[in-house]
């Protein structure tokens, strides 16, 4: 026993073990003491976005009362308009979350929405029952998602390339079937307009409330269901997911098909909101959807695409734009806000991640 203790290596190992236990004790003390304060450690990081939103509203309200005396910005009429008009973008962003969580991009989502809305509008204007038109519209959206999934998963092409091509291809079809014209449903059968825009709750168009319901469903799906958790693992560590027996390919395919179907939901809401569909005006929603999704990923559950963060992301951007427009700042401010918002949001989340290189699955 003595000889053993005099061995320099065992002395060295004993010393190491001693130091290690000391470090661990310190670590444990630190982690024990941290939950004690009332405010969680990353409270600021998680809810900063809400703070920024409130500050922005306060700032505009202040300027507003200074310039116009009467409050044109800080009024329920203005906010019910903001909420009502953002329902479509919120739904589109929520659709985008699923493939993003699985590590894939869907750049065809706005084009998909455009085509689905045209399908719905054309069917209704030609006399189909509203419900049939809506279901067919959703099927078209899911089919586009399935086509994306086929090329991405079967041929192993990067999602950026497939969905970039798909976006233009789908817009081509949209122009073709509409003859590049606006298709109105006012004359034919305004039921859908009734469902989406004329029914109101607290003066806000139903499209917003539908978006909220979808937000809750997706939040529940991601947090409280096994498929939702699997989706997260597939996006974060594909090899880990595969070795845990998850069918990675089907998970990715289902995420893309769901995003297509949800894009079609956004298309249906757009028809109900405007009473018409056209092949060009809503393609521009692609970038705001990405901006909101990435902005959302900096908050609520930092570092993760999450529906509540995205919802607030959309409203934050919309509030900023609405405020500036009320003060007569011209339309280009939209582009500045959305484009700048996307880059700043990602830059902020990179700071949180200590500027590690971003990796997206292929």
């Amino acid at each position: 026993m003595d000889a053993h203790n005099n061995d320099p290596i065992s002395q060295y190992e004993a010393r190491l073990a001693e130091l290690e236990s000391k470090v661990l004790r310190l670590q444990e003390e630190r982690s024990k003491s941290s939950p004690a304060p009332a405010v969680p450690k990353n409270f600021f990081e998680r809810y900063a976005i809400i703070g920024i939103w409130v500050l922005l509203i306060a700032l505009f309200a202040f300027i507003d009362s200074g310039i116009y005396d009467s409050s044109r910005f800080f009024s329920w009429t203005n906010f019910s308009t903001i909420f009502g008009t953002q329902g479509v973008l919120i739904v589109l962003t929520l659709g985008l979350l699923l493939p993003l969580t699985a590590g894939d991009f869907d750049l065809s989502i706005a084009a998909n929405m455009t085509l689905s809305s045209l399908v719905v509008a054309i069917l209704i204007s030609q006399g189909s029952p509203t419900l049939v038109a809506v279901v067919l519209g959703l099927l078209v959206g899911a089919a586009i998602g399935a086509a994306n999934a086929f090329f991405i998963v079967f041929f192993r092409i990067h999602s950026l390339i497939v969905t970039l091509g798909m976006a233009t291809f789908v817009i081509g079809i949209a122009k073709w079937i509409s003859g590049s014209r606006t298709i109105s449903i006012f004359g034919a059968n305004p039921t859908l307009i009734g469902w989406v825009n004329q029914t109101r709750l607290f003066e806000v168009s139903m499209s917003f409330w539908y978006a909220l319901i979808l937000c809750a469903i997706i939040w529940y799906f991601l947090e409280y269901t096994t498929p939702g958790r699997r989706l997260l693992f597939v996006g974060r560590a594909r090899e880990v997911a595969r070795l845990a027996g998850i069918r990675v390919d089907s998970v990715r395919a289902l995420a893309l098909i769901s995003s297509g179907a949800i894009a079609a939901v956004a298309g249906v809401l757009a028809v109900g909101l405007n009473g018409s569909a056209d092949p060009s005006s809503r393609i521009g929603l692609l970038l705001p959807a990405f901006a909101a999704a990435f902005l959302g990923a900096t908050s609520i559950v930092p570092g993760r695409f999450n529906p509540v963060g995205s919802l607030i992301g959309v409203l934050l951007l919309a509030t900023g734009i609405s405020g500036l427009q009320i003060f007569g700042i011209p339309n280009f401010v939209q582009d500045l806000f959305y484009g700048g918002g996307l880059i700043l949001a990602v830059a902020a989340s990179q700071l949180v991640r200590r500027r590690q290189p971003m990796e997206f699955g292929s």
Partner: protein, 519 residues
């Protein structure tokens, strides 16, 4: 034999924190000499190479002399080029989709601007160089279309050309460092490689040949420096030394204080049967295990033992083979992870954060990944229950700090491994497959991982552990199979199951196999 030295290092030391990787090492390489550098994993070989290539700075006090010129240490990264040194690593650094010409010219393109590249001229120049080295390689072929041997030769030629262009500026004939270039080469490829090396030294260049393959060192080198535990164990003249002396010098004669924790001897060997398994390297491997038995698989790098766990689990597709668990047979060609889990298998890969766990997700999510279905309630997943279970399991496996909300990447290597082992052990696997289970795991956690493996075996699981860590195998295994060139060579049990014997068999396995082939 002794000519003026091309490279001379004296008193080279390197500490990592408290650990000593190199301790007063000297190395002297003559002009026109092939000098071997040998040692086990962790003996300091790669640290020495990294200091020479400028990746690491040594402790002060070391001295480096190249062709009678003293060079101040540390070297800056890339400085070795100007000094007339070139490195070829196991990972050859070639771009597979580009041609031989483009790959050889790569280093010129990287360092100088050329606005009019004369492709035809370059191709002719490369063809001339290749002929000069007596290599029948077409410079317009893409690297990916070349056999592994030729790729290796191209990498060496490229390195030599770099040396040559550096010599025009300085004196000396150049020093080529070959850092374990052979493990993946078939015998005939090694021959070609040696021919090229002999050509080089004929022109008075020097070659440092890093390897752990004793036969190759015996064949090609003039002298060799053997490292053990960060010190020079000896410098030998190759043709005056027997392979046995060589191996003894490499592994030393330290008696280990460890003893295997022996369980009740397993009786029947029919619980798990693997037959005729073939993969990328291994061929027609068969073995069987009883319940509660821990089987070790080992060998030198490239001997094929390391792919066996992933082939059985279906993480990689096997070319052929059959698996039987409790009498239930499955073709291994059709195995996939989902089926494997269904059959009661669990697999812990060596790549901890790449393949075993998701670093950016919390411990609780990682731990519950395979057993998530147990937490499904009517109203969805019981997230609080998952967190609480992860906390309890973490406490049982002594995960520190035991905070289930922490991301996995924030834990130390050892604690990560405890979490990942726990996630599989909770499924009570029938067959547990481990690949280097304690790589990068600290001393204390290592014992706990061993204890967990031992506990699983006591509960009746069959365990396969692929590892190059002989000490670990001697400690946890009931039986160890040593591999060479894709085939099992010898099985060690009982008295013969010691660290020294395992290492000895790994290094002698190749010679045994070759004499068998000759006969």
């Amino acid at each position: 034999m002794q000519k003026t030295p091309a490279l001379q290092i004296t008193n080279l030391s390197k500490h990592f924190g408290g650990a000593v990787a190199l301790d007063g090492v000297s190395l002297s390489v003559s002009r026109g000499e092939v000098h071997g550098l040998l040692g086990q994993n962790g003996s300091g070989k790669s640290t020495l190479i990294k200091i020479l290539s400028g990746f690491l700075a040594p402790q002060p006090g070391a001295k480096l002399v190249l062709y009678d010129r003293e060079i101040p240490l540390p070297l800056t990264p890339g400085q070795f080029r100007e000094l007339g040194m070139a490195f070829v690593h196991q990972h050859l650094g070639l771009i597979p989709s580009l041609s031989v010409t483009e790959n050889i010219c790569l280093s010129d393109f990287a360092t100088q601007n050329q606005w009019r590249i004369d492709w035809r001229g370059e191709t002719q120049r490369i063809r001339r160089i290749l002929t000069e080295y007596e290599l029948a390689i077409d410079p317009t072929t893409k690297i990916q279309d070349l056999p592994q041997v030729d790729r290796c030769l191209v990498a060496i030629v490229r390195a030599m050309e770099e040396v040559r262009s550096a010599q025009e500026a300085h004196g000396g004939e150049g020093i080529l460092v070959l850092d374990e270039p052979t493990p993946f080469l078939p015998r005939i490829g090694v021959e070609k490689l040696f021919n090229l090396v002999r050509q080089l030294v004929k022109k008075d260049a020097s070659v440092i040949f890093v390897s752990h393959d004793v036969d190759e060192i015996m064949e090609i080198t003039d002298r060799a420096t053997v490292l053990r535990d960060g010190q020079v164990a000896g410098v030998i003249e190759t043709d005056r030394t027997s392979p046995e002396d060589f191996i003894e010098l490499i592994i030393g004669k330290r008696v280990t204080a460890y003893q295997a924790t022996h369980r009740k001897k397993p009786a029947d060997r029919s619980a798990v049967i693997v037959s005729d398994l073939s993969g990328a390297t291994c061929r027609n491997v068969s073995f069987d295990l009883s319940g509660g038995e821990v089987l070790g698989l080992t060998g030198l790098i490239g001997s094929g033992f390391d792919e066996i766990p992933s082939l059985i689990y279906g993480a990689r597709t096997a070319l052929d083979g059959m698996l039987s668990i409790d009498g239930k047979e499955t073709m291994l060609r059709e195995m996939n992870p989902e089926k494997a889990i269904g059959l009661g298998m669990a697999f812990l890969p060596a790549d901890r954060i790449g393949a075993s766990g998701a670093g950016t997700l919390p411990i609780s999510d990682n731990m519950t990944l395979p057993s998530m279905a147990n937490f499904a309630r009517k109203l969805g997943l019981d997230r609080l229950g998952m967190r609480q279970w992860a906390q309890e399991t973490g406490a049982a496996h002594d995960v520190r700090p035991n905070n289930p909300d922490l991301n996995l990447e924030n834990l130390s290597g050892g604690n990560q491994q405890k979490v990942l082992l726990a996630k599989w052990l909770e499924l009570k696997p029938r067959l547990l497959l481990l690949d280097e289970p304690t790589q990068g795991v600290d001393v204390g956690a290592r014992q706990q991982v061993f204890a967990a493996i031992d506990q699983a075996a006591r509960e009746g699981a069959s365990i396969v552990c692929a590892s190059t860590d002989a000490e670990q195998l001697a400690q946890i295994c009931d039986r160890v199979i040593v591999f060479a060139q894709g085939r099992p060579v010898i099985e060690l049990t009982g008295e013969r199951l010691t660290k020294e014997e395992i290492v000895f068999q790994c290094y002698s396995a190749l010679s045994v196999d070759q004499t068998a082939l000759v006969e």
